[in-house]
């Protein structure tokens, strides 16, 4: 019996409507039994031509559209776009507004990471942590609703500052939340992060080497999980981040290989702790004063282009804006973290089980609207 037994590959269509893809994404899988031989992601189901819309609306009018680019961290998306336009028109933002931006931005980062780790655990069958984390996220939604009036698409950070000042008593409520959340995080960690079954499921799965992470241009927590000490809040500090003290958590391969699924999961858990640290300092340091710089209603920036990078929960988001001096962008390109995180799946998944693909997608924290724009 020298002849090897060969089986026919089966082509399976995963998605576009699949509970674990978190949005409308389709994967075309070639499988040999349970093992994936090739995986081709098919994206574009949520393409809403946001870049084309930007060419038709005013500079201020585009801010609400950035909410829809990534609805899990709309504050950070507002912030990234506002930063880009502020760089175009050389606008100075008041100190208080910068602190408010940090406060709401970090709150939004926590809520985004809660969804990321919650859904990652849920896809692997652990449903309870997800429900618990959503309950905690409600407190953040309440806080952001008090500040902005909306629970998901805020349109709060605008060009030149923030829309309006924080309501009275907001900072005290935020401080209460931070203290409460420390306890909640401990509970959550006992439930899922240090759970032996969960660790064994995630460790050594689909490791990304440091070199590969750079080649594929992974950003944010995915890049840091591969051992790179890179966080734009540290490397190219913007806003008031230089005055705040926080660590940049990186993957160390604590439970297996460097850059595996558990590292990517754990970096996000650590980042929540750092965000809490930032919130505590910002609540203490926030000065009083104006919250909006004087910006003309008809912004007419000089001719040229800027490329601004901003650290959102999904990493380095780049806004490229080409201006021809008129009242709307000539060309706007949004480069998002999910786009490259998705393109690496094609390389990562061959050899993995179909059930592992779900873990890989969950650990990379891909958000479909941000992917397709």
């Amino acid at each position: 019996m020298n002849q090897e037994l060969t089986t026919q590959y089966m082509t399976i269509n995963m998605g576009p409507q699949h509970p674990s893809t978190h949005g409308v994404i389709r994967f075309i899988l070639q499988t040999d039994g349970e093992i994936i031989k090739s995986c081709v992601p098919d994206i574009g189901y949520l393409h809403r031509s946001i870049e084309k819309i930007a060419e038709g609306v005013s500079w201020q009018g585009f801010v609400p559209y950035t909410d829809r680019v990534d609805y899990l961290c709309a504050m950070n998306a507002n912030w990234a776009y506002s930063m880009a336009v502020e760089k175009l028109i050389s606008c100075e933002v008041p100190q208080r507004a910068e602190y408010i931006r940090v406060l709401v931005g970090e709150l939004n980062r926590i809520s985004s990471h809660l969804i990321a780790i919650g859904t990652c655990a849920m896809d692997l069958g652990a449903f309870t942590p997800f429900i618990q984390l959503l309950r905690e996220r409600e407190y953040i939604n309440d806080l952001l609703e008090l500040a902005s009036g909306a629970r998901l698409t805020y349109n709060y950070i605008c060009i030149g500052g923030v829309m309006h000042d924080l309501p009275p008593g907001w900072l005290e409520r935020c401080a209460e939340f931070v203290d409460h959340f420390d306890v909640a995080m401990e509970q959550m960690n006992r439930l899922i992060t240090y759970n032996r079954i969960f660790i064994n499921r995630m460790a050594n799965l689909a490791p990304i080497s440091p070199e590969m992470a750079l080649d594929y241009n992974l950003v944010g927590p995915n890049l840091r999980a591969s051992g790179h000490h890179i966080d734009l809040r540290r490397t190219t500090p913007y806003g008031v981040y230089p005055q705040l003290d926080f660590e940049v958590p990186v993957g160390k391969g604590i439970e297996g290989t460097l850059g595996d699924c558990y590292d990517r999961f754990f970096v996000r858990v650590e980042e929540i702790r750092e965000s809490l640290k930032i919130l505590r300092q910002a609540i203490k340091q926030i000065p009083s004063g104006e919250v909006q710089a004087k910006v003309k209603a008809n912004i007419k920036p000089p001719v040229g282009h800027v490329y601004v990078r901003h650290e959102t929960p999904r990493g380095d988001t780049g806004y490229f804006i080409e201006s021809d001096g008129s009242t709307s962008a000539y060309r706007l390109k949004i480069r998002t973290g999910s786009f490259t995180a998705m393109s690496i799946i094609e390389t990562l998944s061959p050899g993995a089980f179909i059930a592992d693909l779900v873990a890989i997608i969950g650990s990379l924290d891909v958000v479909a609207p941000e992917l397709d724009r």
């Binding site: 574009g44 734009l232 490397t235 282009h305 800027v306 380095d316 780049g318 000539y330 060309r331």
Partner: protein, 175 residues
């Protein structure tokens, strides 16, 4: 390292004909399509420059009464992530072709597909140059300035005459 320093180093060491395009905001280093791949390969491998990561790739379609062109932009980020530079390449409308850099950065694969899809630039040597955002049978490239919306897609008619006037209920909320 800023753009001027990078430009001086590239001009001195690479032997490729490049020009600096300064603007009031951020400038770029311009190169012609024939030398684009060689320049990017040089920058990636040069330790002194350190621009190891391809962060973004895009194109801008510029159309005036006299001239029409598509300028490609490549944004390269330093491996310490503290700075970036832009490389630009101007293509005439008669020859919308540029060499693919997928062999240098796997990240370029999808970025180039997106540029091909939305702007119609062909990347020679790309392993899988297909539309990525739009359906495979879509006609036209939407991010061009002279793009006209189609009236039909398969059997569905796009209603281009949507009534945007506020309804009676909406009017009652307008002060």
């Amino acid at each position: 390292m800023n753009l001027q320093e990078a430009f001086a180093l590239i001009q001195a060491k690479s032997g490729i004909n490049v020009t600096l395009v300064p603007t009031e905001l951020e400038g770029s280093i311009q190169v012609d399509a024939a030398n684009l791949h060689a320049l990017l390969a040089f920058i990636k491998s040069n330790q002194e420059l350190g621009f190891r990561v391809l962060a973004s790739q895009t194109g801008v379609h510029a159309k005036t009464a006299e001239a029409e062109s598509i300028t490609l932009y490549y944004f390269l980020v330093h491996h310490h992530y503290h700075c970036h530079i832009a490389i630009s390449c101007k293509l005439g409308m008669d020859k919308l072709e540029a060499p693919s850099v997928c062999d240098l950065w796997p990240a370029a694969n999808w970025l180039e597909r997106e540029t091909f899809d939305l702007l119609g630039v062909r990347f020679t040597g790309h392993p899988n140059l297909q539309r990525i955002m739009l359906p495979h049978d879509w006609v036209g490239h939407p991010l061009r300035k002279d793009y006209v919306k189609p009236e039909f897609y398969h059997d569905t008619e796009f209603d281009l005459n949507i009534d945007n006037r506020p309804s009676e209920i909406a009017k009652s909320f307008i002060l």
